[in-house]
């Protein structure tokens, strides 16, 4: 049996429902715990941290933090984790520097994988070190809190909606840092969020929670494209497409991104050929044509095949799941169009993509 990965078996009665989770999550990358507020995401995170005491088992890459069968329950301070709370929760009686030192000084020098300079630079807080915490803005506080957690060189980083309290500009500033965390540290991250956008951008894996139950768990791209999950009902329902830069068109200032389903052209990006790029394509930006012959201003037209239909939020509309060379796409169209075009499963069509968002 492989020891790698995060094994969670938790059962915890809460006020309105019982949190029940039995999960095997990848031992690296970002796993998003996604769900509406009050779905038990934070409680699950607290179970992993030992801040709540569920019945069950918690194992992180072979290290046992809780196992009821063996009567093992490590208290929180003995778990090699970093926790970023929704509100930064800095110690008000300590300076920024002392806040950062608080956890770091308890880690043996040999176990410090994250350097002071690296963490301070990564989160851009060098100029704040000698300040008190009261004078910091919300974004600054949260960056200090993230650095503070990182400086304990955790084996698992738990983040409870760390961006929820920030304005969108600050969010956009921190997101690249989080992406770098993901790429450079190899520390697995459990990331609680109710923002589909954050999840699409950051998460490799995703757990969908509803009323304390795990509705689905799997790779983010796969889950987002599923018609049977509540995600599909969201106004912003979207799929992720992992592509590679195949070339640039200097005349028209376009960048060509290739994936098994074809090539998508986007406005010229400063990306080297061969670089990986993740695209988000919203269902509302995809329309369906029976042939690619009609003249149109839409640049991106991909041959695809219909593999299924699902409900959309509004009864006038439906979702169509398409397969473009093995990559799933979602199109949200009216039911009227569906019947007028005679769309059915297995039908080869052309997916017309009006716009895409480049995530990373």
């Amino acid at each position: 049996m492989s020891e790698a990965g995060i094994q969670l078996q938790c059962r915890l009665p809460l006020a309105d429902f019982t949190l029940e989770a039995d999960l095997n999550l990848p031992g690296r990358g970002v796993t998003a715990l996604f769900g509406a507020s009050g779905s038990g995401k934070t409680s699950l995170l607290r179970c992993v941290a030992g801040l709540a005491r569920p019945a069950g088992r918690v194992k992180i890459n072979g290290e046992c933090w809780q196992d009821d069968a063996q009567r093992v329950f490590l208290p929180t301070h003995k778990r090699a984790l970093g926790y970023v709370f929704q509100e930064a929760s800095l110690f008000a009686h300590l300076s920024v520097r002392a806040n950062l030192e608080f956890g770091r000084k308890r880690i043996a020098a040999a176990e410090r994988k994250v350097g002071w300079e690296a963490a301070v630079e990564l989160l851009g807080i060098g100029h704040l070190l000698d300040r008190g915490t009261a004078a910091l803005s919300g974004g600054e506080r949260q960056r200090v809190a993230i650095a503070r957690a990182l400086l304990t060189s955790p084996q698992l980083l738990l983040m409870d909606e760390p961006l929820a309290a920030l304005d969108s500009r600050r969010k956009q500033e921190i997101l690249p840092y989080l992406e770098r965390l993901h790429d450079e540290l190899a520390t697995p991250i459990l990331y609680v969020s109710h923002s589909p956008d954050e999840v699409a951008r950051l998460a490799d894996h995703m757990v969908l929670l509803e009323q304390g139950r795990v509705v689905a768990s799997g790779p983010t791209a796969e889950l987002l494209a599923r018609l049977d999950l509540p995600l599909a009902l969201d106004e912003d329902a979207a799929v992720l497409v992992d592509t590679q830069v195949v070339g640039h068109d200097e005349d028209y200032q376009l960048t060509r991104l290739g994936f098994p389903g074809g090539v998508i052209k986007v406005t010229r990006k400063a990306l080297d050929v061969g670089k990986r790029a993740r695209l988000k394509i919203q269902a509302r930006d995809v329309s369906i044509a029976l042939t690619g012959e009609n003249p149109s201003s839409i640049v991106n037209r991909l041959p695809a095949r219909i593999v299924g239909f699902g409900d959309a939020a509004h009864p006038a509309q439906c979702l169509v799941r398409l397969d473009a060379g093995g990559t799933p796409l979602l199109a949200r169209i009216t039911r009227l169009s569906k019947d007028q075009l005679g769309l059915r499963e297995g039908l080869p069509v052309v997916a017309q993509i009006k716009s895409v968002a480049l995530l990373a």
Binding site: A49, G50, L51, P75, T76, H77, K78, L81, G82, Y83, F85, E87, S89, F91, A92, H93, F102, G103, R106, I107, R148, A149, T152, L158
Partner: protein, 228 residues
């Protein structure tokens, strides 16, 4: 209205008593306040009420029962005699014990309020930063609850300085042993020495005012109101 050597002796004794009692109360009161602030036990209400009892109880009632308890027939009295400590009434030690009970709520409540106002979050954060509960208590809890401790110390000290009824019942009026300022004022008034009484009384009045002034300054800065 020069203070007599007896007056000065009473002042010194009062300061000694109050300082000792305050130090002991901070040590005893902190775990009680911690327990009251954090427990979910059903006993919380009962213990909380017992600790607060001296606030509403007439000091003479408290003193009377302490006298009975510590006396030769009382449980505490028999216990202290068995330990070879002798009897506590009419000794400085007895006064210390009685004062601790008498001033306990004035120390426990500000600390308890400070612990409750702080909430769980700082403790949880400290735990996720690898600090054991004991380390957390000294590096996070105590510094964050400092205004509560300052308020508690001031109230405990001032309240002990001002006690009279309990001392009267349990300590009597023994010079250099149990004769505190309030007793000495009483003695002067009994002897019709109003000038002498004024000397001490005015001193206590000024002291009380300064204490409260300081308390409101601390409370104002930390948003804790006037203490309790």
């Amino acid at each position: 209205m020069e203070l007599t050597p007896e007056d000065w002796s009473a002042v010194r004794l009062t300061l000694e008593l109050s300082t000792l009692v305050t130090v002991l109360l901070l040590i005893i009161g902190t775990p009680i306040a911690w327990w009251l602030a954090r427990t979910r036990s059903r006993l919380r209400g009962v213990i909380g009420a017992v600790v607060s009892l001296p606030i509403v109880l007439p000091p003479t009632v408290l003193g009377f029962y302490l006298l009975v308890l510590m006396g030769p027939q009382g449980a505490v009295g028999r216990f202290t005699e068995a330990l070879g400590l002798g009897r506590l009434p009419f000794t400085f030690t007895g006064l210390v014990v009685a004062s601790i009970i008498y001033s306990l709520p004035f120390v426990v409540q500000p600390i308890q309020n400070a612990f409750m106002a702080m909430g769980d979050r700082p403790l949880e954060v400290a735990a996720t930063l690898r600090a054991s509960p004991l380390v957390t208590f000294f590096t996070v809890t105590l510094p964050l609850a400092r205004p509560g401790f300052i308020t508690a110390a001031i109230l405990g000290f001032a309240h002990t300085v001002g006690e009279f009824g309990v001392v009267l019942m349990i300590g009597g009026n023994i010079p250099d042993k149990t004769r505190v300022i309030s007793m000495q004022i009483y003695n002067h008034v009994e002897a019709m020495e109003y000038g002498q009484a004024h000397g001490l009384a005015a001193g206590l009045l000024a002291f009380s005012f300064i204490v409260l002034l300081g308390l409101y300054a601390v409370g104002g800065r930390n948003g804790l109101g006037g203490g309790r």
